[in-house]
């Protein structure tokens, strides 16, 4: 990660990611509405929502919640900047986990039963997806020989050809990370659920606006994780990556609209099962290919 790429990524990711993330959320809501034979909100609706929240009365239940949420946003941005600057993938994973845990702390700090329940579910979600994310970075190292994300640019073929099963495992846990049904246990984009609004129940106004923006940054970072599987040292990579991202995101929306929410125990069981199978088989096949 050179200084130049860091500076480009710092400004590029910080400015462009929320624009792209908000647009993505708008497309998401539009496609979801069409899948339900509705017209749906305007494409820029997520921006209107955040702008409105910014102008709401400023309320907070304690002095810490807003700070935790702000720090969660800052760490999500740092993780994204390091990723897109070609930095250490493992570091990205750890910083993003810190961001998520700060969000959990923000909910816990309110002492509200609904927010606490949402926070506990968020912790279970972290437990469910974190092994797969760690294994993804380890197998990335095994395939590429470096933890740096810019190392894929020197490859002769994309890493999906080395890590097909790890990619499938990533797709599975991405549903948790995107907060999509059937794994939207702690916080759902859809109205009316049993936990009021789960982890964000006690957040309102500007704090909630920051939560939304954090989510936009995270979504772009996750799409970066998907994209890195299709990048190699060729211009064709751009085309392949764009196609892969569109397909993957539509798949997520499709899954979101066609599955009911599962219990947390089912989520944990399935996520770990997929992780173990994908990781073991893919790691074994990588080792055999080295022997051959």
């Amino acid at each position: 990660m050179s200084v130049a790429s860091f500076i480009i990524s710092l400004f590029g990711f910080t400015i462009l990611a929320p624009l792209a993330g908000g647009l993505l959320a708008g497309i998401d809501r539009k496609v979801t509405a069409r899948l339900q034979s509705r017209v749906g909100p305007p494409l820029l609706q997520p921006f209107y929502d955040v702008a409105k929240l910014w102008h709401k009365e400023r309320w907070t239940v304690n002095n810490y919640q807003g700070f935790y949420v702000l720090m969660s946003l800052v760490f999500a941005i740092i993780a994204g900047v390091i990723f897109f600057a070609g930095g250490n993938f493992l570091l990205v994973v750890f910083i993003l986990t810190l961001s998520t845990l700060l969000f959990v702390l923000a909910a816990y700090s309110t002492r509200s039963p609904f927010a606490e329940m949402g926070a506990e579910r968020e912790i279970v979600q972290v437990m469910s997806y974190e092994p797969m994310v760690i294994i993804m970075s380890v197998t990335y190292y095994l395939a590429v020989g470096s933890f740096n994300t810019n190392a894929v640019l020197t490859l002769g073929r994309p890493i999906i050809t080395y890590l097909p099963l790890v990619f499938i495992g990533l797709l599975f846990i991405l549903t948790i990370k995107f907060r999509k049904s059937p794994f939207d246990l702690s916080y759902s984009h859809h109205a009316h659920q049993e936990l009021v609004k789960g982890i964000s129940t006690e957040m309102s106004g500007r704090t909630l606006a920051l939560v939304e923006v954090t989510h936009w940054y995270e979504n772009i970072l996750f799409l970066g994780w998907v994209g890195i599987f299709f990048v190699w040292g060729s211009w064709l990579a751009v085309l392949l990556t764009v196609v892969a991202l569109v397909v993957v995101y539509f798949l997520e929306i499709f899954i979101d609209n066609n599955f009911a929410r599962v219990k947390w125990s089912a989520m944990l069981k399935w996520a770990w099962l997929v992780t173990i199978v994908c990781a073991v088989v893919n790691m074994a096949s990588l080792n055999w290919s080295w022997l051959g």
């Binding site: 305007p42 609706q45 009316h192």
Partner: protein, 157 residues
């Protein structure tokens, strides 16, 4: 129209309703009327809501619930009484436990009568409510500009 008018999130509370109006409120969310077209989300959380839709009359059991939901909503906010019971108490107004319409508990901005209220009437009432919401936001923004120092107070953050 500002972002406030483009993104009104509503909370719906069933006071002492016969459920007729509640069904009509929920009908607004279906593909037939699709109020998400206007950016409206039916949120279950008063802290996220801008519009408070109340159906049914207010009685001894729920007067405090109605007040509490209203107080938990951050400004700017608008209250819409949906259906004749929410407006005046309707056929229940003489019952021993009924206080009357929603305005016997909290200030109401828009009265939308009907038994049961039609989805079109609810959408009309919401559109009228949006105008009031815009005025309140303008007033709040003007007030906030005078009190800009409050934004730097860590207790406010």
């Amino acid at each position: 129209m500002t972002s406030t008018g483009k993104s009104p999130w509503l909370i719906h509370y069933d006071a002492a309703s016969c459920n007729g109006c509640d069904i009509e409120v929920l009908a607004c969310l279906t593909p037939m009327y699709d109020i998400e077209r206007f950016g409206i989300i039916n949120t279950g959380n008063p802290k996220h809501a801008d519009l408070f839709l109340v159906t049914g009359s207010v009685n001894e059991q729920n007067i405090n619930v109605v007040r509490q939901i209203y107080e938990q909503m951050p400004d700017p906010k608008v209250v819409i009484a949906c259906g004749i019971c929410a407006c005046t108490g309707g056929v229940f107004r003489d019952c021993y436990n009924i206080y009357g319409g929603v305005d016997s508990a909290i200030p109401v901005d828009v009265y939308a009568p009907g038994c049961a209220i039609r989805p079109e009437a609810i959408i009309d009432a919401v559109v009228v409510g949006l105008g009031i919401l815009e005025e309140r936001r303008a007033a709040l923004d003007a007030g906030a500009a005078l009190d800009a120092g409050a934004a730097l107070d860590p207790k406010e953050a």
